[in-house]
């Protein structure tokens, strides 16, 4: 039996994450682990003492004071985490899915690395708790998770929409081929319409690639259309997703050029940011 890891926090996206998890879990018969990670302490709220003097026994006094503050905060964060998880589990169970709550402490990415060994899919919200302050920005954790996870990953949008039309961004790379292969063998998308889109120059090579992928998908019983468009990948794909009412974008994740990513950011990140639909990433 497969397993989904659904990452939730206290944000509006958590409900959508649960709904996406329930949708996948129901059609696959998988179970869901709903995970909330209490992150590293946020120190910005410490009481300030700018007196700049150190008195007798300052070190022990300071240590006790800091420890006491942290303990209070940690207890609150724990309570809050449990409440978040309770709601999420209730929401998933109402859909008739087997859901387990997991409350962990530490760094999100490291926690996920420990947990994902036996998971088949990771679901995370596109943005986190500060979502309303910075629209059109990705949550800081999404990119870290996307870059570090080795599993297929679904980035949930603000609200769950039933999925009817799929847009597959196909660049001919290994992750993209994996994605196509996965769709061909998956019952999750059975009977849906597929649109294969390659952004690039229309050479015989790209044509051959996209035709091959289309043939594979048609063989699996999908209704497939293909298209090759020139332009900037992120702009073209985002436009297509918007204009033709696609419900889900599927693509291969992060390319290889680490250095390039560092300076220019990557198409993947840009795609997750600019598309208003959920994105399913394959490595």
């Amino acid at each position: 039996m497969g397993k989904i890891i659904a990452l939730v926090d206290g944000s509006i996206y958590s409900e959508s994450v649960c709904d996406h998890a329930a949708w996948v879990a129901k059609s696959k018969g998988w179970s869901v682990d709903i995970v909330h990670v209490i992150g590293r302490r946020d120190e910005s709220a410490d009481p300030r003492n700018l007196s700049g003097n150190i008195g007798l026994g300052a070190r022990t006094a300071l240590l006790n004071e800091l420890a006491e503050l942290d303990a209070q905060k940690a207890r609150l964060a724990q309570k809050r985490g449990r409440a978040i998880l309770e709601d999420a589990v209730a929401r998933a169970t109402a859909e008739g899915v087997e859901a387990h709550a997991r409350l962990r402490m530490g760094d999100l990415v490291e926690t996920l690395r420990e947990m994902e060994a036996d998971a088949d899919l990771v679901i995370v919200g596109k943005r986190g708790e500060a979502a309303d302050f910075a629209k059109m920005h990705l949550g800081s954790n999404v990119e870290r998770v996307a870059r570090s996870t080795t599993r297929p990953m679904l980035v949930a949008s603000r609200a769950f929409q039933p999925v009817k039309k799929l847009l597959v961004a196909f660049d001919g790379g290994t992750p993209a081929l994996k994605a196509v292969d996965h769709i061909a063998r998956s019952e999750l998308f059975a009977g849906l319409k597929l649109h294969l889109l390659t952004v690039g120059t229309d050479t015989t090579e790209t044509k051959r690639g996209i035709e091959g992928a289309a043939a594979l998908l048609k063989g699996a019983g999908y209704e497939v259309t293909t298209e090759i468009v020139a332009g900037e990948p992120d702009k073209v794909i985002a436009d297509r997703a918007e204009a033709h009412d696609f419900d889900l974008l599927i693509m291969g994740a992060y390319g290889h050029s680490r250095i390039r990513n560092l300076f220019i950011g990557s198409t993947t990140t840009e795609m997750i940011r600019s598309c208003k639909v959920p994105v399913l990433l394959f490595r």
């Binding site: 300030r48 700018l50 700049g52 007798l56 022990t60 300071l62």
Partner: protein, 496 residues
């Protein structure tokens, strides 16, 4: 350049901008008097310590291993340089600083951060107590044979430092002390020694220069002992402070990276005309207390310091020494571990002796490296002494009275070898002696020699000697077998 590294860097630098900038300012204000005072301790112009504090703070913020820790020119390193400056002058001090930095970088690459394990808690307590005493003693020249007004000023300064936080904690009380005492001195026209009397203050930005010394073997002979002491003391204080900040903030830090960072900072500082420094326990505590957590706090402290001294240079020079003395007394009082005095009663005598020996040796030699070395040696000796008690020899005589079996149990090494040798009765007339060392651990050559000697003596007295279990016992000569690296070593070492 993994994304994780980047996000960690982002967190270290930009995770707490407001808090870091505020605390950086508080620390910078506290650093000014300290940097000046430490320059005076070392016997150089105040500008040497101020430039050093700026450059060490900035470089360790970037290259160090412990975000939120403050490094600058310190008393611990300043007291080491007194004789060097007196005998050879400033240029040799700068060269020593560069060399000390290089030694620290090497220590970092050799992963010597882990050697700190051998510095026990008692030695560390001795270290901070000795440091506090040295800082206090360095103030005495300013307090002996001075006009009586100075005492009034110092007392007033201390009152402001300790009482002002009850009024508000929004302003650094040492700064208030400086402002009030300076204003008083100017208004009343009192004849007091000022910072300007102590030497040159910086009026420009520091610039790159190469220490002007002959590059000869003799020069190296002069500066190497000082550089080694500065490097050792600097690393010791830095790693200790890193541990304190780890505990206070409940986060981890990379100690070897910290060694490299300190080394880079000192090397760079030597080339811009500054003296060597290291992490500062008191300042780091002030930083954490003021809400500083990231690398930005130390970086900001350095930058603010430079801006303040270049802009306010004229004002700095009229600060009465009494204000500095008051602040330094606060620093020494805050650095001293007062609980250690109470603990002298309850702690085991050996750890108290180690602590006191560290303090006495340091105060006697004015060299923290010597003190720590003494402390570490003593704690090693005491430990060996304690472990040496963990052994016994029992014996049983056979029915016919011709054979005696000695059962040796426990730890045999240089410290227990004598007792071991004395445990045999060589005057007994026996035909056969069995020495069973199955349950003993033979740690070194001294114990092997003692065992050989015992066998030899019995043989000379005409007894046949048999040793049982030698293989198992001598497995613990760890250094020969490098046993501790192999799987199951622990069971083999402890289990027989």
């Amino acid at each position: 350049m993994s994304p994780d590294f980047l996000s960690r860097m982002r967190g270290d630098w930009l995770g707490n901008i407001r808090g870091d900038l505020l605390s950086g300012l508080v620390v910078a204000l506290a650093l000014i008097p300290e940097a000046i005072a430490f320059s005076i301790i070392a016997g150089v112009d105040p500008k040497i310590g101020l430039y050093a504090s700026f450059s060490i703070a900035v470089v360790t913020a970037i290259a160090g291993g412990r975000p939120g820790m403050i490094s600058a020119a310190t008393a611990a390193t300043a007291v080491l340089m007194v004789t060097l400056v007196r005998d050879y002058g400033l240029q040799y001090l700068l060269a020593t600083t560069v060399l000390a930095g290089l030694l620290q970088i090497a220590a970092g690459f050799l992963k010597l951060g882990s050697v700190m394990r051998f510095v026990s808690r008692s030695v560390m307590t001795g270290f901070v107590n000795a440091l506090a005493i040295l800082i206090f003693m360095a103030q005495l020249p300013e307090l002996i044979g001075v006009p009586w007004l100075t005492y009034v000023m110092v007392a007033g300064g201390l009152a402001i430092i300790y009482l002002f936080p009850y009024v508000t904690t929004a302003l650094p009380s040492p700064l208030v002390c400086i402002v009030v005492l300076t204003a008083l001195a100017l208004l009343t026209g009192m004849d007091l020694r000022t910072v300007g009397d102590m030497g040159e203050l910086p009026d420009t930005l520091p610039m790159f220069l190469i220490p002007d010394i002959p590059l000869t073997y003799e020069t190296l002979q002069i500066i190497l002992p000082y550089a080694a002491a500065v490097a050792a003391v600097g690393l010791l204080e830095s790693l200790m402070t890193a541990q304190i900040v780890d505990d206070l903030t409940d986060t981890k830090s990379d100690k070897n990276q910290e060694c490299i960072g300190q080394g880079l900072a000192n090397t760079a500082t030597g080339f811009i005309g500054g003296m060597a420094g290291c992490a500062m326990i008191g300042q780091s505590m002030i930083n954490v207390k003021s809400g500083g957590r990231g690398r930005l706090s130390c970086f900001a402290a350095g930058v603010f310091l430079l801006i303040l001294i270049v802009v306010l240079g004229d004002i700095v020079s009229v600060i009465p020494m009494a204000a500095l003395v008051a602040i330094m007394i606060m620093v020494s009082v805050g650095t001293f571990s007062w609980s250690s005095i109470v603990n002298l009663r309850d702690h085991p005598r050996s750890s108290s002796i180690v602590m006191l020996a560290t303090v006495i040796m340091t105060v006697y030699t004015h060299n923290l490296a010597m003190g720590v070395l003494t402390g570490v040696l003593l704690s090693g000796i005491f430990f060996a002494g304690k472990i040496a008690q963990l052994f016994r020899v029992t014996s049983s005589l056979s029915e016919d009275g011709l054979t005696r079996t000695y059962h040796v149990e426990g730890q045999l090494f240089f410290a227990s070898a004598d007792d071991f040798a004395a445990a045999f009765d060589f005057n007994e007339v026996l035909e056969r002696v069995v020495i069973d060392v199955t349950r003993a651990h033979i740690w070194d050559i001294s114990s092997v020699a003692a065992l050989d000697m015992a066998v030899l003596k019995f043989r000379r007295d005409g007894a046949e000697v048999e040793i049982i279990g030698l293989n198992a016992a001598s497995e613990t000569i760890v250094d020969r077998l490098a046993e501790h690296d192999k799987p199951g070593a622990m069971d083999r070492l402890m289990g027989h």
